[in-house]
C-alpha cells in the first residue's frame, strides 16, 4: 500500500514537472485555424483580424463560414481540420470576390492619413498633408481604406494579368 502511494507520488511529481516544463504557449488549435485563414485582416467576419476570428472559432463563438476572402475552399479546409461538415459561405458576411489591390488616385489625395490608420497591414505610405500611396505588393485587398477616405480617392482595382502572374489554363474536356 505504502509502495503504491509512493509510486503515485513520484509519478505525480513527474507529471507536474512535465506540465510546467513542456507548457505549450497559446492554443495550438488557434494556430492551426489561423494558418488556414487568408490573412487579409479585413474584418468581414465580424472580428478585428484573422487571429481573433481563429480564436472565436476555437472557442465555438463563431462559425467556419464567415470568411469571404477564404471562400468555399477556405471553409472546406476549416471543416476538414475541425472534423465538421463543409457548408456554404454565409453571405451575410459578404460574398467571395476576386482579389483586388487598392490604388490611391494621387492627384486627388489630400494627405489626411485616415487610410494609413485604417490599413491593417501598414501597406500605405505617406505623411500628413503629403500624398499617400499603396505598396501594391503588401496590399491584401481588404477594402478597409476605402471607407475612411474623405475625398473618395481610393479605388479597388483588379490585378492586371501579366507574364509574371499568368497561369497555364486547365484543358477544357469536351465530353459528350
Amino acid at each position: 500500500m505504502l509502495w503504491i502511494c509512493l509510486l503515485f507520488a513520484i509519478l505525480g511529481v513527474i507529471l507536474g514537472y512535465a506540465a510546467f516544463r513542456f507548457k505549450v504557449e497559446g492554443d495550438p488549435l488557434v494556430v492551426d485555424i489561423e494558418a488556414l485563414l487568408p490573412q487579409t485582416q479585413c474584418g468581414q467576419c465580424g472580428f478585428p483580424g484573422c487571429k481573433p476570428y481563429a480564436e472565436a472559432i476555437a472557442q465555438g463563438k463563431a462559425d467556419i463560414n464567415q470568411c469571404p476572402p477564404g471562400g468555399e475552399v477556405g471553409v472546406k479546409a476549416l471543416a476538414d481540420l475541425l472534423g465538421l461538415d463543409a457548408k456554404p459561405l454565409n453571405e451575410s458576411f459578404g460574398i467571395e470576390k476576386e482579389k483586388k489591390v487598392a490604388v490611391i488616385v494621387e492627384a486627388d489625395c489630400i494627405g489626411c492619413t485616415l487610410c494609413i490608420q485604417a490599413c491593417p497591414v501598414d501597406a500605405i505610405l505617406g505623411a500628413a498633408k503629403y500624398m499617400h500611396t499603396v505598396i501594391a505588393s503588401e496590399c491584401t485587398g481588404c477594402d478597409l481604406c476605402v471607407e475612411p477616405c474623405p475625398v473618395d480617392c481610393i479605388v479597388m482595382t483588379a490585378i492586371k494579368p501579366s507574364v509574371l502572374n499568368w497561369q497555364w489554363p486547365k484543358p477544357i474536356p469536351n465530353r459528350h
Binding site: 490573412q39 485582416q41 483580424g49 501598414d122 494579368p161 499568368w166 497561369q167 465530353r175
Partner: protein, 500 residues
C-alpha cells in the same frame, strides 16, 4: 554502337531534320528593330540600363537583372533606344509585356572589344566573370545563367563535364550544324569550361542520327590532341537530349528528384552555350547572336541562321523565302516542348533554338482530336522517361488535388510530351501538369503573401499597444506634474497669505 545505360521510356519520333540540316548556317541582315522583353522566362525582371533616345553600340549592355541569377543583355546592333513599348513576347501566355526597343541604324558599329587573351592565362574566377559579363545563359532552352553553373562552390565536387549535342527534338538542327561547322571552336570552348571547373573529364553526347557531326567532332579531337574529350553516341530516342536523361545515358548517374546535376558531380552544357563561351573568352565577343533553326513544311527555304537576339521572327521568315501558304501554327522551340505564338512580330530570345512554321501536316492530331475519358491503359507510364505515372497525376490534377499531384512527382515531370503523343484518348496530359504546377506556384506565392501580411498585422498590433501604453504613461506623468504644481501653488499662496 552505343555502349551505356538505356533510357527508360521515350519515343522514336520521326526527325524531319533533313528539311534544314544539309544547308550551312546563313548570316542574317540587320533587322529594322530589335525587341528585348524586360522580363525573362523564369520571371526575373530586367532593368533597362540604356536611356530612351540614347545611341547604343553593338555589344553594349542595355539591360540587366539583379539577384543571384542576374544576367546581362547586350544590344545586337548599333542604333537608337526607342521609348519602351508593350509588345507581344516569346511567352506561352501570348500576353504583351514591356520591351526595350532598339531602332537600328544599319551601321552595326561595335563597342570596343577586349584584346583577346590566352584562356590558359585566365583563372577560373576570371573565366566565370567574363562569361557573366558576356551575358551567357544556357542556349539549350532553359536560359539558366552559365556563370552560376561553372562557378566552383564548396558543397559540390564536380568530376565530369557533359556537353549536350543530342538534339532529340524533331525538326531542330542548330546544334547539329554548329558541330559540323565549328568543331574546333567547340573543343576550345570545352577547354575553357574544363579550366573553369578545374577538371579533366569531358563527354560529348551526340545522337546516332547525326553522323556528320560525330565525324567532325572526332576529327577535330584527333587534330587538336584534346584526347581527354570523349565522344559518346547515344540512341536517337526522344528525349535523350533532356539534361537529366543525357546524364543518365552517358554516366549511369541519376539526378535526384528536386536536385540538380551538380549533386551528382556533373555539369551539363549545351553545344550552343559552349560556342558562346568560346566566342566570349577566346574572341572577346558578348552573346548577341545565336543559331536558330527556321523550319517546317510551311516555310519556303528551311535553314539554320545566325540570328541576332531580338530579331523579329517575321524578318527571319522573310529571309527564308517567306511562308508558302496558310499556316496552322507558329511554334517557338520544338514540336514537342515548344509553344505557339500569336503572331510573327515576336523577337527571338537567347532561348529560341527553333522557329517551326507548322502546317496541318504537323499539328492535326493534337488540335482536332477529341478528348476522351482516360481508360487507364498505362501507355503514358510506359513511355515516361522519368518513371512517373502520368495517368495518376492526371487524375489528381483533374480533381484539383494539386498537393497529391506533388506526392506523385509532378515537379519531376520534364514536360517532354511523350505521354500526350501515345495517349489513345488524346488527353492533353502535359497541359494538365503545367496547369497544376501553375496552381502550386500560385499557392506558394499566396502563402508567402499571407505570412507577410500576418507579420505586418501582428507588428502593427504590438506597436499600437505600445503607443497606447506610452500615451497613458505620458498622461499620467502630466497629471502628476499638474497635481504637484497645484499643490505647490496652493502651498505658496498659503505662504503668501501667511506672510503679510
Amino acid at each position: 554502337m552505343f555502349k551505356g545505360w538505356n533510357l527508360k521510356g521515350g519515343l522514336d519520333l520521326e526527325g524531319h531534320k533533313d528539311l534544314s540540316r544539309q544547308y550551312s548556317i546563313n548570316n542574317t541582315a540587320i533587322p529594322d528593330e530589335l525587341i528585348y522583353p524586360l522580363v525573362d522566362r523564369s520571371g526575373n525582371v530586367l532593368t533597362a540600363l540604356a536611356k530612351t533616345g540614347e545611341r547604343v553600340l553593338k555589344g553594349q549592355v542595355i539591360a540587366g537583372s539583379k539577384g543571384v541569377q542576374g544576367t546581362l543583355l547586350h544590344a545586337a546592333s548599333s542604333g537608337l533606344v526607342k521609348e519602351n513599348e508593350w509588345r507581344m513576347i516569346a511567352h506561352p501566355s501570348g500576353l504583351k509585356s514591356e520591351c526595350l526597343i532598339v531602332a537600328t541604324d544599319g551601321l552595326d558599329e561595335c563597342c570596343p572589344i577586349d584584346e583577346p587573351v590566352d584562356y590558359r592565362q585566365l583563372s577560373a574566377a576570371d573565366i566565370c566573370e567574363k562569361v557573366h559579363q558576356a551575358g551567357i545563359v544556357g542556349l539549350g532552352g532553359a536560359s539558366f545563367p552559365t556563370a552560376i553553373k561553372i562557378t566552383p562552390n564548396n558543397v559540390h565536387t564536380i568530376d565530369t563535364l557533359i556537353i549536350n549535342g543530342a538534339e532529340c527534338e524533331p525538326y531542330i538542327t542548330c546544334d547539329d550544324r554548329l558541330m559540323q561547322q565549328y568543331p574546333s571552336e567547340i573543343l576550345l570552348g570545352i577547354q575553357v569550361l574544363l579550366r573553369a571547373l578545374a577538371i579533366k573529364n569531358c563527354v560529348i553526347g551526340i545522337e546516332e542520327d547525326m553522323p556528320e557531326a560525330i565525324e567532325a567532332i572526332q576529327k577535330a579531337i584527333e587534330c587538336s590532341g584534346f584526347n581527354q574529350i570523349q565522344v559518346k553516341v547515344v540512341p536517337a530516342v526522344y528525349p535523350a537530349g533532356g539534361e537529366r536523361q543525357l546524364i543518365y545515358l552517358l554516366t549511369g548517374r541519376e539526378t535526384p528528384s528536386q536536385g540538380f546535376p551538380v549533386d551528382i558531380g556533373v555539369v551539363c552544357q549545351n553545344v550552343g552555350t559552349v560556342m558562346a563561351v568560346y566566342q566570349a573568352i577566346v574572341k572577346g565577343q558578348v552573346l548577341i547572336e545565336r543559331v536558330v533553326t527556321v523550319t517546317g513544311t510551311g516555310i519556303n527555304k528551311p535553314q539554320n541562321m545566325w540570328a541576332r537576339i531580338g530579331t523579329p521572327i517575321k524578318d527571319l521568315v522573310s529571309q527564308c523565302g517567306g511562308y508558302n501558304g496558310p499556316n496552322e501554327r507558329l511554334i517557338m522551340g520544338g514540336l514537342m516542348m515548344g509553344f505557339s505564338l500569336p503572331d510573327d512580330s515576336v523577337g527571338i530570345t537567347k532561348a529560341t533554338n527553333c522557329i517551326l512554321v507548322a502546317t496541318s501536316k504537323e499539328v492535326t492530331k493534337s488540335s482536332e482530336a477529341e478528348i476522351q475519358p482516360c481508360i487507364r491503359c498505362g501507355e503514358c507510364a510506359s513511355v515516361c522517361p522519368v518513371n512517373l505515372l502520368p495517368q495518376q497525376i492526371y487524375w489528381y490534377s483533374q480533381g484539383g488535388a494539386h498537393q497529391k499531384c506533388q506526392s506523385f512527382g509532378l515537379f519531376d515531370c520534364i514536360e517532354c510530351g511523350c505521354c500526350d503523343v501515345v495517349c489513345p484518348s488524346h488527353i492533353p496530359l502535359v497541359q494538365y501538369f503545367r496547369a497544376s504546377k501553375s496552381k502550386v506556384f500560385l499557392k506558394r506565392r499566396e502563402d508567402e503573401a499571407a505570412t507577410l501580411a500576418k507579420q505586418r498585422f501582428e507588428r502593427r498590433d504590438t506597436r499600437q499597444v505600445q503607443e497606447k501604453v506610452a500615451r497613458e504613461q505620458r498622461i499620467r506623468v502630466k497629471k502628476l506634474a499638474l497635481v504637484k504644481r497645484q499643490k505647490e501653488s496652493v502651498s505658496s499662496s498659503a505662504k503668501m497669505q501667511d506672510k503679510p
